[in-house]
Subunit: 576 residues, 2 copies
């Protein structure tokens, strides 16, 4: 249960204006302190303090409206829609002594100078003071003079009790009844209405945008993850693309660039096939949340999957577009843009270093197939980038544009997200420029079977432990150590690189081990034990190892969570 | 203090032969159990058990005669030469009831069939039974029928009390006095006599071969380590090479290979300069020894240094030798041989993957300069390989031959040394084929100042911590976290890439960060603390982190020791 404390200390607004009785709530916004009332442990307390640091606060929440998946930014848990609906209903039901405004009047307030008004479910709100501290930045002005609903439909993060509670403090009037009706009839459709059907086995972390992971025990059942249960990580609604009119642009090189249809991509360039594991930077974030709450989707251990991708090599396309020795002199990055966009028209974007893009051994694909079929809509139909060994966020889906550049992508996701920081860095002190954008990921492994808390019958006399292991940058996993006693003693697991009955894939060339290893260990149950703490850790061929514990690698965005994975299981006698 | 227990259980020799009263000591060799009498802690006990596993035991010690630096294999500490001399003198002084043999008779015993005899300081020893279990393998037969002294001069490991004690059990007679005199006059000179002078500041880990590291506080004083104090890691005596007659052969490619003089190397190929850090795989081994004794030199934290190297690119030389697209079809490794050799003529050797050798971004040098001067003798004069980002062992010195091959180097150091294993793997269970040869090293950092146990005056009110950080594979160190409280809280250190007063080196291209970062943090002394446990950990740009603790990465060769580095310092009041 969350308790909100509003602190009325002001920040950049100076003393309260008597004309603006709501202004105090602007201060409340930026001195917001969120406390988990069920837990008084300091280390778990949620703090957004230092109200004097409004610019940092803005930076801190900059990803919000941008839909970065920071959908939990204001809360510890998923707020159930019903709760919000109750508050919303209360909001609406309040007997109002406030004036009634026409839409025409509301529309006059679209700038800080004229005041910024918005409407929401028939209420009129003057949010002028709030604009400067809106976590999503200036994008809030897109709603100025109009309704919030279409924007909040895109970013479901707003649909939470305390957001609505805070909004209520800005209320200045009611919208005229006939304008309310007009709004309702003109209501934009749900931008997520064209999202595809998903497999019911998926564990949903957020519906809009859709983010979900398979149950761990399914993950380790298949060396190549079936597309339907391959983890889904969308930042925005799934764009529906007509393959016949699809066009990919390649820009940034002399000669006017290149435009390719889907057919061009398939026919002009050799088809190249790569089995590669993709992992979200936030995989295993829930373990960081257990140390101290971070911002982001509460991923378990399954924001990682392995598929066989086929398509044109990015290298071949860049060479066809005119990449040459001259370009190599100035080019440093290759930027990608997706067709997925937010209400402002801003598309998802990311970039990778040019040496990864152009290198013969980089194996970067413009993929149009996943596991032998056209890409599913959730995975970027008709064309996505697959950057083997590199964090999922750079594997841009629904690819529309490639730009060779001296600069990194300027996108929010490249500049102000997907970076790692010291555990001491908080949202008041973070300087996103001080850390490199995540590209290659560190060595990783996790236990998929048994599940934490599972019962193991003593009569079985042994326990079988399964999991996955992978490392970024093409570094092959060469060993997985498993402990049944919390890390005191270790046994070496058996690795596999294929599904049962199939011959293992040949060992990859050095630096090109893009696919994970599944691993398994069957060990006798220690005779006296009543509980096992099972631990795994992987080693890659650069002999990087996973850190022992989570707290020292904790970071405010909850990325790069790769400490030893631990599950506790209980050994039960048959009569229990 | 070491206690040797001889166990008389036999292994492969069957029952004791009454003609060979010494045979029991052969059994003693392979069931040798070494126990530190000063420490009854099981985890620290030195065990070489399972006497039935003679082949494993041989494997375990296979590096011994080969001079791999496993000079501590029989002991916990450096045995002082004086101790050995006392035993040796006792050996010699024993009133002998044994027969006197001529050199001629001794020389007849050179095969297992005829018996294998050797002489040592006037004694004659029948070591026939010992040959099969000699840690150094068949190489012992090189001494058959002759004197041990020239061999033991090469491998100082033998000059230890317990080795001499065991030898004494094989004694069968005395060498005729006139033959003793002949031996002494013909005594081969010390193979290390031409080793160069070394800087007195170096801390010597072994004299023959010479292995030494600088004091840590000197290390962090210079971004580019002065050559004189750059850590020395020799496997064999330093060969003295005449630069005028020096010849480098490049083999394995069609067309008969290439031969290059030093002048050829300097004139035919562009000179390329790279600042690169080299690190011994055994750096920080002493911390593993503190967990449980391993085999190898007891390196502190300074088996790492940074220098500016200049020479021809290996890539350019390979292309000149005929490396082409055809070669790329079959070539997988590039092997190197040094001019340093043991008594059998076996030279030091190693290999690297061909993609590292030929890649434009690999920056592998055939270096003839170190820090602007010709290579010093200890560092490979006139030519060595510098493989940036790769373990020191592959940076072959005194380079004589390069071979392009489908296979790795077959050398001991590539196949049966310099590999990492699980902490559970011991010398009885190790399978060297199961692990890849170390190439790229994992992320590393250590504290050079203050030293462990140092006193920090409380009056100073703050403490300055300094150190180095580096990662293999060209991965740039992007952050170093420092803790003053054993890892509970962290502060971010300042990194530097140049010496004071000089402009920092430009940021390297991705994947080509070959040089370390020095780092420094000045922090207030915690007011109440009487002791600080200072800890550091580095992060590279693949966001690999160091493991928290040593025990879970412990391995029988004591390589890859990269857990958080910890030093304890005492805060002292001025009146203390």
């Amino acid at each position: 249960m969350l308790v909100l404390r509003h602190c009325h200390r002001l920040t950049r607004f100076g003393p309260l204006s008597p004309q603006r009785p709501q202004a105090s709530s602007a201060g409340a916004w930026c001195s917001l302190r969120l406390v988990s009332s069920s837990n008084n442990n300091d280390s778990k307390e949620q703090r957004w303090e230092h109200p004097g640091h409004a610019p940092n606060l803005r930076l801190a929440f900059a990803g919000l409206l941008a839909g970065t998946g920071a959908v939990l930014a204001y809360g510890l848990h998923h707020h159930k829609a019903e709760q919000s609906d109750i508050v919303s209903a209360q909001l609406k039901a309040q007997p109002s002594q406030l004036p009634v405004f026409s839409q025409e009047e509301v529309t006059k307030h679209r700038t800080p100078k004229d005041g910024v008004w918005v409407t929401y479910k028939g209420g009129v709100y003057d949010i002028t003071e709030f604009v400067a501290v809106h976590p999503g930045g200036d994008k809030i002005l897109l709603a100025a003079g109009g309704a919030l609903e279409p924007f909040w439909a895109l970013y479901a993060v707003h649909n939470q009790e305390h957001v609505l509670a805070m909004l209520s403090e800005y209320k200045v009037g009611e919208l005229r009844a006939e304008d309310q009706k007009k709004q309702q009839s003109a209501a934009s459709s749900d931008p997520y209405s064209s999202d595809p059907e998903r497999h019911p086995a998926l564990r949903v972390n957020s519906l809009k945008p859709f983010n979900a992971e398979p149950p761990p025990e399914l993950l380790s059942d298949s060396y190549v993850t079936p597309s339907a249960i391959f983890f889904k990580r969308n930042h925005l609604p799934v764009p529906r693309v007509d393959p016949a009119s699809y066009e990919l642009r390649v820009d940034g090189l002399p000669g006017g660039g290149l435009k390719l249809s889907l057919e061009d991509l398939k026919k002009r360039f050799p088809k190249h096939t790569v089995t590669a594991t993709l992992q979200c930077a936030g995989n295993r974030r829930s373990e960081m949340n257990a140390v101290k709450q971070v911002k982001g989707l509460n991923w378990g251990i399954s924001a990682i999957s392995n598929a066989t991708w086929a398509g044109a090599r990015l290298r071949d396309v860049l060479l066809a577009a005119g990449y040459d020795a001259d370009a190599a002199q100035w080019a440093r990055h290759v930027q990608f843009e997706g067709l997925d966009k937010d209400v402002t028209g801003t598309t998802y974007g990311a970039s990778i270093p040019v040496n990864k893009a152009i290198g013969e051994e980089g194996d970067v694909l413009l993929a149009y197939e996943m596991n032998g079929e056209p890409l599913p809509p959730d995975h970027g139909f008709p064309v996505r980038v697959v950057v083997p060994g590199t964090v999922g966020a750079r594997n841009v889906k629904w690819l529309s544009k490639i730009t060779v550049s001296a600069e990194e992508s300027g996108s929010h996701w490249q500049q102000n997200d997907y970076k790692g920081f010291s555990p001491t860095t908080d949202w008041d002190t973070v300087d996103f420029k001080s850390a490199p954008a995540i590209q290659e990921l560190p060595v990783q492994s996790a236990i998929t079977v048994p599940a934490d808390g599972a019962a193991v019958p003593r009569a079985s006399e042994e326990v079988t432990v399964k999991g996955y292991a992978w490392s970024g940058g093409g570094r092959e996993v060469v060993r997985v150590d498993v402990s049944l006693d919390g890390g005191k003693t270790w046994q070496v697991a058996e690795l596999r690189s294929s599904d049962g009955g199939q011959s293992p894939e040949p060992s990859p060339p050095p630096g090109r081990a893009w696919a994970w290893k599944l691993w398994e260990l069957t060990a006798p149950l220690p005779s006296e034990a009543r509980q096992l703490e099972i631990v795994c850790k992987a080693v890659d061929n650069s002999y990087n190892m996973q850190p022992d514990t989570v707290a020292p690698i904790w970071n405010l965005r909850g990325v790069l969570s790769n400490a030893w994975h631990r599950v506790k299981v209980n050994i039960v006698d048959s009569d229990e």
